[in-house]
């Protein structure tokens, strides 16, 4: 197995942008290779990834029935 081409500090510096898919393809590939071989950085990446997933899930909440009824009425009235 080849040695990681980038150091941990460099990976951590770009990790959040990488998880946000805001790095260029070359940097993303270097980080991916590093994460495959570095347990410490991989743990950190997984933690941030899971936290990000928790935050994303905060964007879905059961809508109250009165809102559903309001929307149904709105759509039916418009038709």
């Amino acid at each position: 197995m080849s040695e990681p081409t980038v150091k941990c500090e460099e990976v951590l510096k770009h990790l959040i942008a990488y998880l946000d898919r805001e790095t260029d393809a070359h940097t993303a590939a270097e980080i991916e290779q590093h994460l495959e071989q570095c347990r410490s950085c991989y743990s950190r990446a997984e933690f941030e990834r899971r936290l990000k997933a928790h935050v994303r899930a905060a964007g879905s909440r059961s809508a109250p029935e009165r809102l559903r009824a309001r929307i149904r009425k709105l759509v039916d009235d418009e038709f």
């Binding site: 964007g59 809102l67 929307i71």
Partner: protein, 202 residues
């Protein structure tokens, strides 16, 4: 408007209501305002449906209508002198904070992997609360990027600010969010077991 289009719209909106409401709730922090925002979004979407060229992109399209409606109202309120708004957070002033680094300390690691345990125990109410206490500009940046999945560039365009401002607001928002979750972890006793394990072994 033909019946097929009506059915398409009604089914799509029905399926997306939880997602639209959840996003609206995170943006407005208030259930009545969130319901109004979703209703306004649906009305706008219905009125503009004829302009949607690709039905496959309906989900992203209506999500963007919701975001635009909220942001436009928010910016309008911010510009209004009659309304006392939360000031724009100033640059600098808050320290970087990493929940992972805070949890990943030798005395905590002695017992188990606390970062795994804490994140597994985070409740959705914890995240909601931590998001809701962020200053408006920070919270909105996080909602746009983390909740809605916009790129930094798209968020900058939607908010009418430079991309660097989005990057900076996101970094500071996430630090504040993680600090709030750390505090919650302590208050809720999630770390108690690790602390007491350490105390018994010194």
């Amino acid at each position: 408007m033909d019946a097929g289009l009506h059915i398409f719209f009604a089914e799509k909106v029905e399926r997306l209501t939880d997602r639209l409401y959840g996003t609206a709730l995170r943006l407005t922090r208030n259930s009545d305002d969130a319901e109004d925002l979703v209703a306004e979004t649906v009305a706008k979407a219905w009125a503009k449906l004829g302009k949607l060229s690709d039905p496959q992109s309906f989900d992203a399209w209506i999500q963007r209508i919701l975001t635009n409606t909220f942001v436009s109202e928010w910016r309008h309120r911010r510009a209004s002198p009659e309304v006392a708004m939360e000031p724009e957070p100033e640059d600098g002033g808050d320290e970087p904070f990493s929940l992972y680094e805070k949890l990943h300390q030798p005395f905590l690691l002695w017992w188990t992997t606390p970062e795994e345990e804490v994140i597994a125990k985070l409740l959705r109410e914890d995240i909601d609360r931590a998001l809701d206490v962020l200053p408006d500009a920070f919270r909105i940046a996080v909602v746009l990027v983390d909740v809605e999945g916009y790129s930094y560039g798209e968020a900058a365009e939607l908010l009418g600010v430079p991309i660097g401002t989005v990057r900076s607001r996101l970094a500071r928002a996430r630090a504040q969010l993680q600090r709030a979750l750390w505090q919650h972890g302590k208050d809720a006793g999630l770390l108690e077991r690790h602390m007491s394990a350490k105390a018994h072994n010194v």
